[in-house]
Amino acid sequence: MGSLTVTHERADSFFDTFERKAELQHQTHYCPGCGHGIVHKLLAQAIDELGIQDRTILISPVGCSVFAYYYFDVGNVQSAHGRAPAVATAVKRSRPESIVVSYQGDGDLAAIGTAEIVHAANRGEPITVIFVNNGIYGMTGGQMAPTTPLGRKSTTSPFGRNQWTEGFPVHVCELLNSLEAPVFIERVGLGNNKQIMNAAKVIKRAMENQVKGLGFSFVEVLSPCPTIWKFNPVEAQRFVREEMAKVFAIGNLRDRTKEAVQRPAATPPPAVEDIPRILGLVNGEAEAPPTGRPDRALNLHIKVAGFGGQGVLLLGEVLAEAGLESGYEVSWLPSYGPEMRSGTSNCHVRLSSDPIDSPLVSRPNVLLALNEPSLRKFLPALEPGGIVLYNGEAFPEDCARRDVRAMALPFSHLADEMGESKAGNIIMLGALLEATGLLEEEQVIGALRRLVKSQRWFELDLKALECGREEVRKQPFPLAEDYLWGV
């Protein structure tokens, strides 16, 4: 008589311990009798049997299964609500050898994520989608899902789902079956032993299709949610069998795996070194690489603000570009309202010897205020010891600070005198550079050359720069020699 050998045990594709919490490290967080636990088991089993644990990447959704990454010992990306098919597309395309599974609930896939699933299917992305349809939003406490059967009560359909107000249950398999590209679409259930054993087979098929490179495979699993449906686990199983399976017919809707044609191999992604050339960022051989770390340590938090049309964004861009050219880390973040040409606008510029943590400037040490509302808005946030240049004859009396270095000059008027009223921004830049010596002339002119396309404007801007410098030479700016720029 033979001896006993193990035939079924915990899949290798599960972690040995689940480190979500200090307690319960062997149990999932699912309610007793939850279908997610069963689907996890069938999927883990399929991954084990196909020997693909090392190259499987699970895209987990938002919903009760949001913690799937604590259980599956495979690659994982947790995606935003409904976006798993888009994330899966990106992962599959960038790592074609991986086996990518988009695991989603019915709120996730059929409500907020309707667009993503439809288009991923329509593109025939060669991924596997496991769609756990429990007819309700579990995680958030029982709101109606697109798949809730008619007449069923939920917190958002307290009188029962009514077709006239809430519409009919959405049949996702049938919807996707109207598309050309998918190769495999099947609906299974967890309503009894037979259904569960069949679900195991179908999930494995859908994974195998991907291993063979056949194309988009979709499995909908009618799944119990005992907690929200207020059934015990055995009754919930019956509900799947007797009610869900009536609304959503179990069976294969499409199997084109035999006719499936191999997708043409994707063009390999370009080498990282090649990207500047592809983006047209290389002007020619003359372009010298940045000269390493600049001598002078800087940590500038610059805010440029004014109204649209004053050249606020360009002024910030020139500073960032010249900083980059000088070897600093830089960032430039424009911020403007929906108005294209009017309204206020401002931009955040960082220039630093060290890597930049955030491109946001909330406590500037340089404020370039091109109009009074901007001055009033941002002056209070200026760092003590910081510098403010204001486009006006003088600071308004009720808007001044003694603990910052301040300069008011009528930049727009100076620009008018030059014959081009819009050049005030560059005059201000000239004044800033002359007063602080922050950047070298060569890099600033280089930046202007790249950013200002028209030759006329480029020449005007050179004049404007010089005009600003000249003004500061006339009335020197109070700046201590040993002031450290933010470092």
């Binding site: 006993l4 050998t5 045990e9 899949a11 007793p32 069963i38 259980y71 686990p233």
Partner: protein, 89 residues
Amino acid sequence: MTTNTKPDRGSVEMNSEECKGCGLCVEACPPKVLRLADRLNRYGYHPAVYAGHGCTGCGICFFVCPEPGGIKVLRRAMEPAAELAAACA
């Protein structure tokens, strides 16, 4: 050897600390050799337990159990003659 001393074809190891007492395995087991214990486990669930005999090793309880390591199923490797007898039984 008489029929009633013939060893079972299978056996199960129930992990009562992982069990949440959902009862799905109890419901699913064809020969009904599983039941929920009267005692509670560490988390306050009545864990499923095996009666100790009668398991066929069919593996169904394993698939219906939502917990990854709730149940382990074992099967007796049969000698060819016994296998034939079992198949004809």
